[in-house]
């Protein structure tokens, strides 16, 4: 009888593993339950997330890479956008291998919705924190959470929040002090809706060039002072996955 139970259990276990989609790692647990093949995305309705395939690159000499600065370009972005090469592809640390529009569509399919979106041109007109700044001067949309995961040399999965790689600096009494990066990311969709062609996914300021922005401040100004620490990222060329988890405003 005991052997029968064991045998049945083994069969059931085998069935569960063969049901996992191609590309999944059986040792990894839920963190990497499904990963996309290069050039495709996973849209997981149950978990409310989109997973993108990406490679790590070192955007040497670009702003905010290993030194504090301000930039509009995302740290994670697509190699292609608006039917061609992404203009900002050289700025990304995590270079995603599908176009921005595909990422946009994936988030939309999960019920994630943009609310205030602008072309770059219109965004410039609304730039800056001023006495007459209005709520419409901030890009708006459903909140999202980003993380990046990859396998180490031993095959173990490592996952880190997007914020993990970045440190922010603020001025206090004339001195620059460091603090954790605390962006507030929203899905505004502008880059795809207005065909900005930048390729940017998640920008470290309120910028209508991408599709997700940190909208703590109004468009473009002020920009948070941030530093991406390349030593926290996996080596250049590593296959990584960018997870975007949505907080959807639609059923």
């Amino acid at each position: 009888m005991r052997w029968l139970i064991f045998g049945l259990g083994a069969v059931l276990l085998g069935f569960v593993f063969t049901s996992v989609p191609a590309g999944a790692d059986e040792r990894s647990g839920p963190r990497a339950a499904r990963v996309p093949e290069p050039g495709s995305v996973v849209i997981d309705h149950q978990r409310g997330e989109v997973i993108l395939s990406a490679k790590v690159q070192f955007p040497e000499d670009k702003p905010c890479i290993n030194e504090f600065g301000q930039r509009v370009q995302a740290f994670a972005g697509c190699a292609t956008a608006a039917g061609g090469d992404a203009r900002m592809a050289g700025y990304f640390v995590f270079l995603v291998d599908v176009d921005t529009e595909t990422v946009f569509e994936g988030l939309m399919k999960l019920g994630c919705r943009p609310r205030v979106h602008y072309s770059i041109q219109e965004g410039r007109k609304r730039s800056g924190l001023k006495a007459d700044t209005r709520p419409e001067d901030y890009l708006q949309g459903d909140p999202v959470v980003l993380s990046v995961f990859w396998q180490d040399d031993d095959g173990a999965w490592i996952e880190r929040a997007y914020q993990y790689f970045v440190t922010e600096a603020v001025m206090v009494d004339g001195h620059q002090i460091e603090k954790p990066w605390t962006p507030h990311f929203v899905f505004h969709g502008s880059g795809a809706i207005h065909a900005a062609a930048t390729g940017c996914i998640a920008c470290p300021c309120d910028c209508p060039g991408g599709i997700i922005a940190d909208n703590r401040y109004p468009i473009y100004d002020p920009k948070p002072i941030v530093r991406f620490d390349m030593s926290k990222a996996p080596p250049v060329g590593t296959q990584v996955y960018v997870r975007i988890r949505v907080i959807s405003s639609t059923p």
Partner: protein
């Protein structure tokens, strides 16, 4: 022994390098003016007195280049991507993000005409050498209105619509004899249009968006700048690529020949100005000029100075020295 054997060649190489470095200048670039947003084009008037700049701050500015002071600011309803002087120097034409081509009187800055024929942004305008025609091109990020227009500059009507590009047009340039127009596009191609019959040749080779372009003064070469981090030099007669000049790995946004045709200059996303000697197309100078991406460059009419500008909104002047 080994040291002696190689000492002479090394000395010669160092001397040659110092000569080159001296000849092409090592001065710090001078800031000659500023905008409040990206600078997309810089152009000198034919007499060299005026400098026109096109900017994302919705203005084009006419500068008195001698005093370095803005003479008149031309206000638009969108980013100004292009500003060029007519060959007689009496008019300036701008191309704007709102789709307008606007004609201004020089030097008083009076608006003479503002015409909206493009459905999307106008990224580039260029006068024919005789000043009788103007070419304009544009589009939007994903495509849009990708028809190149040829205008009659007397009554500002559109004479021809050149259709062929499938993505936005970022650059147009007339050949020095006025018989050809080169157009460059996000569709990765360069098209050489014959203006007598509207036919065109497609020059393929760039592997990404092609930005601005420039003919050599003798019309033999066409240089094109691209997102693929190269400048390509095309033999205009054969349509063959004569040279592929690599930057580092960043997009190159602009490339122009010097007025005497002996130098080719380019700028791009790595903030550097690069010079190559013509016709060998050997690199002779490279220097970081700005803190952020450079979109535009132009030689002064005497070829002794180069102005560059871009994302950090400053106009930088670099002097080319005659003597080592």
């Amino acid at each position: 022994m080994v040291r002696n054997r190689f000492a002479r060649p090394i000395q010669v190489a160092i001397a040659a390098w110092m000569c080159v470095a001296g000849a092409f200048g090592a001065d710090e670039p001078e800031v000659v003016g500023r905008h409040e947003d990206n600078i997309y084009q810089l152009t000198f008037s034919p007499d060299g007195r005026w400098l026109a700049t096109a900017s994302g701050d919705d203005t084009a500015v006419l500068w008195d280049f001698q005093t370095r002071k803005p003479h008149v600011t031309l206000t638009h309803n969108g980013p100004v991507y292009s500003a060029v002087f007519a060959p007689d120097g009496k008019r300036l034409v701008t191309g704007c993000g709102d789709g307008h081509v606007t004609v201004w009187s020089v030097p008083d800055g009076r608006q003479l005409a503002a015409i909206k024929q493009h459905e999307d942004a106008v990224y580039i305008v260029a006068f024919s050498p005789d000043g009788k025609r103007l070419a304009s091109g544009g589009g939007n990020g994903g495509g849009g209105d990708t028809v190149c227009r040829i205008w009659n500059t007397e009554d500002w009507t559109v004479l021809h619509r050149l259709e062929g590009h499938t993505m936005p047009i970022y650059g147009v340039a007339f050949s020095p004899d006025g018989t050809l127009l080169a157009s460059t596009s996000r569709d990765r191609t360069v098209r050489l249009w014959r203006l007598d019959d509207g036919s065109n040749r497609v020059l393929e080779g760039h592997t990404s968006d092609v930005y601005r372009s420039g003919f050599s003064p003798d019309g033999r070469w066409l240089a094109t700048a691209s997102q693929d981090a190269t400048v390509r030099v095309w033999d205009v007669a054969s349509g063959q690529c004569r040279a592929t000049l690599p930057g580092r790995r960043d997009p190159i946004y602009g490339a122009v020949f010097s007025p005497d045709g002996l130098l080719l200059a380019a700028v791009g996303d790595d903030c550097r100005l690069r010079l190559w000697q013509v016709p060998e197309f050997t690199p002779v100078f490279e220097e970081r000029m700005a803190r952020e991406a450079l979109f535009a460059l132009t030689f002064s009419n005497d070829g002794k100075q180069i102005l560059v500008g871009g994302e950090d909104t400053s106009i930088y002047l670099h002097r080319l020295q005659d003597d080592p």
